[in-house]
Symmetry: C2
Subunit: 414 residues, 2 copies
């Protein structure tokens, strides 16, 4: 049988497995030295602190329900239980003035999966725009789907529009010069930590509506925005219901990276076009895609996610977020004090740090690993405009964050 | 933006939502009558009995681990935890003489999802063969992926090869007349309940190896085989490692339909071809697909699945399976005694029942719903060769199964 040739275009292994490989090689060769100074991982954005008690209590209650025939739950609704969809719509949207109904919320097993799977309902003829640097999954999944040509030497794929995001433009992607049909925006941004303000987001919504384009708005880090003036949802912007899909996740705000629950909002007003010009509802297409190819997530997990919206759950996730944002502040201040240029880490759990003059980001990665036993994410792994930067995640214990910044402040790698 | 036009080719709503719709309409119009004789659902194959205690205990332990930083689990390995992959390889394969290694097992959130997602790694030029009747997801996902033309009046799609499965051929699909590149086989079969024996499966493996074809072997119901001579895995057949992928699920054997855990076995010996004739490992492609587009299932769920292989778990899932198979026996015997022709229900939890002469399967569905307040699945929903049959599931309480067969035995619908 014939394989999907597009996979052969993929320029490199997915970023995080490559980081894992380098860390393994180093760890095996330096077991003794690592006993005195263990590796601290501020690379992959994985949470470290316990899941809120409210979520665990709800999950245990749900497991117990599975033990009795009267309360047992088999297949759930394809798009998620109403108890969860309703709370999401109310608390994350209606309470913030966004007109989103419960049946526009599709519960899923992760924003990574959602961003990848959404390509199933889009045609092959769209011009796709991504930021550079960018979360690699947006690009790789378009390559796999055959929406690109081959990669060039810098790792950029023919057929994609890259929107350079740099210190010069304040890490706000510029509107594309050529017409784009599908645009990925991530705010708060992974990897730069930048947040799109109301004016920037309005410009994008207006652009999308004027050009019949779709914005895939990844707001997986929305809970980390500390300034209430900044939009947490694209649906806070007038006109977004006709041009945007939003992705949200419980991973980082409720310690769900290993428990898997997220959701996608597809407004009913959002229309695409078939190749013969017919208007087609994306809500209807996504409903068909999800009911045919997915069975939603565990009842137990959905009960855990629901508990995020209880009084206890809100208080506990609030504490968790404050804890990580305090880590972010410590990182930002310590590295700035050490003379480094630090972006982000104010409304996002990521610091985007400039490498010293003339040091590439993979060289910086190796240097931090070998000298400070510290794992970062090299900026170049996110695209050619990420060269010269590295990303530090605020997701770790206070002890590890303090040790990490002490190692850096001691001059290692600077 | 442009949508995926292939979705517009889909001939009808996915079968089970349509059944749900008819049941809702009937229920709303007959609320009073349903109080005296409530609806019994033997339609969708959803389990009803509690999850085994061993699984629940393991899940609760795992939830509690998430409450302490020292035992908290964030992102898990992309293909599943080794603790689960190793037990699967040992108990489901090595112990039955199949040479399958733990790193050939990919843990997932369901066989439906896996069967759909596997299309991501296959090219567009393959000739795809499915049985008729068939689990609709195999067909619909190929339509969505653009591997077919339009549907004809009977609901068959141009470009697919249909293998008629009928009483005449003993519900064993015949080898295709034209060369097929990708072949879906499901054994024990949904919907017919038929099982492929060693000789039949060997013929398919030989065909696939001779023609460079891939068999997608759906063994989601393997645990229901009661005769130890019948193969539970295609990897019990010599040569399968170079031509087959197998799908397995915890849904039906361990009450996981609402908890979501399954796995796919992709042997390292399995090769496909790129369009320029290069040999490419499907194991490598699937690894790339899963690490880029999926984040595996909850740690808590994987601990629950692991417990299926403990002594208690094996005893408890064994009881659960025996319970449902006793339901199957009751259904088979009662309907046979009532003069109906019943297939399956011996090594599978499904009875495939002939409709009375001249009654279509949707007419039979409506008749059973209206007269017996019994929900079945109309055979025609699985393909044109399913016309004249309906499927009854053995997944229900003993009380409901006994009431259902009493209603049928009383002459309703016969």
């Amino acid at each position: 049988m014939q394989i999907n040739d597009n996979f052969l275009k993929l320029a490199a292994g997915y970023l995080f497995p490559e980081i894992g490989r380098r860390v393994s090689v180093f760890s095996e060769a330096n077991a003794e030295a690592l006993k005195a100074k263990p590796i601290i991982k501020l690379g992959i954005g994985d949470v470290t602190e316990p899941m809120p008690e409210a979520c665990r209590t709800a999950m245990i209650k749900a497991v117990n329900e599975l033990g009795k025939a009267e309360t047992f739950r088999g297949y759930g609704p394809a798009f998620g239980y109403d108890f969860l969809r309703e709370k999401i719509a109310q608390h994350d949207f209606v309470d913030r003035g966004c007109e989103i109904a419960a049946d526009e919320v599709f519960v899923s097993d992760g924003s990574k999966c959602d961003s990848a799977n959404l390509l199933d309902i889009l045609g092959p003829g769209n011009r796709v725009a991504v930021c550079d640097p960018v979360y690699p999954v947006y690009v790789d999944t378009n390559v796999m789907a055959g929406h690109t040509g081959a990669a060039d030497e810098s790792g950029r794929y023919a057929g994609l529009t890259y929107l350079p995001v740099t210190a010069e433009n304040g890490f706000a992607p510029p509107l594309p010069g050529e017409k784009a049909d599908v645009i990925y925006l991530c705010s708060p941004n992974n990897p730069t930590g930048a947040v799109l303000d109301r004016a920037a987001l309005t410009a994008w919504v207006d652009y999308a509506n004027a050009n019949g384009a779709l914005i895939l708005f990844d707001a997986a880090y929305a809970a980390f925005i500390t300034d209430d003036e900044l939009p947490r949802s694209i649906f806070e912007i007038d006109g977004a219901r006709t041009c945007a899909i939003e992705l949200r996740s419980f991973s980082k705000s409720a310690a769900f990276t290993g428990t898997r629950c997220a959701y996608t909002v597809v407004p009913k007003d959002l229309m695409g076009r078939s190749s013969d010009g017919q208007e087609v509802s994306l809500h209807a297409l996504w409903s068909r895609r999800q009911s045919t190819k997915f069975n939603c997530v565990a009842y137990v997990v959905q009960r855990g996610a629901e508990a995020v919206y209880s009084d206890d759950g809100r208080a506990q996730t609030g504490e968790l977020i404050s804890f990580y944002m305090e880590n972010a502040r410590l990182i930002r201040e310590a590295l700035s004090a050490a003379g480094m240029t630090v972006h982000g880490a104010e409304h996002a759990p990521y610091a985007w740090v400039g490498c010293p003059e003339g040091v590439t980001s993979w060289a910086m990665f190796d240097k931090l690993l070998h000298e400070a036993h510290l794992v970062c994410t090299p900026g170049a792994g996110f695209g050619s405009c990420g060269e010269g930067y590295f990303r530090l995640s605020a997701f770790n214990s206070r002890e590890n964050v303090e040790a990490a910044i002490e190692r850096v402040a001691a001059g290692v790698g600077v």
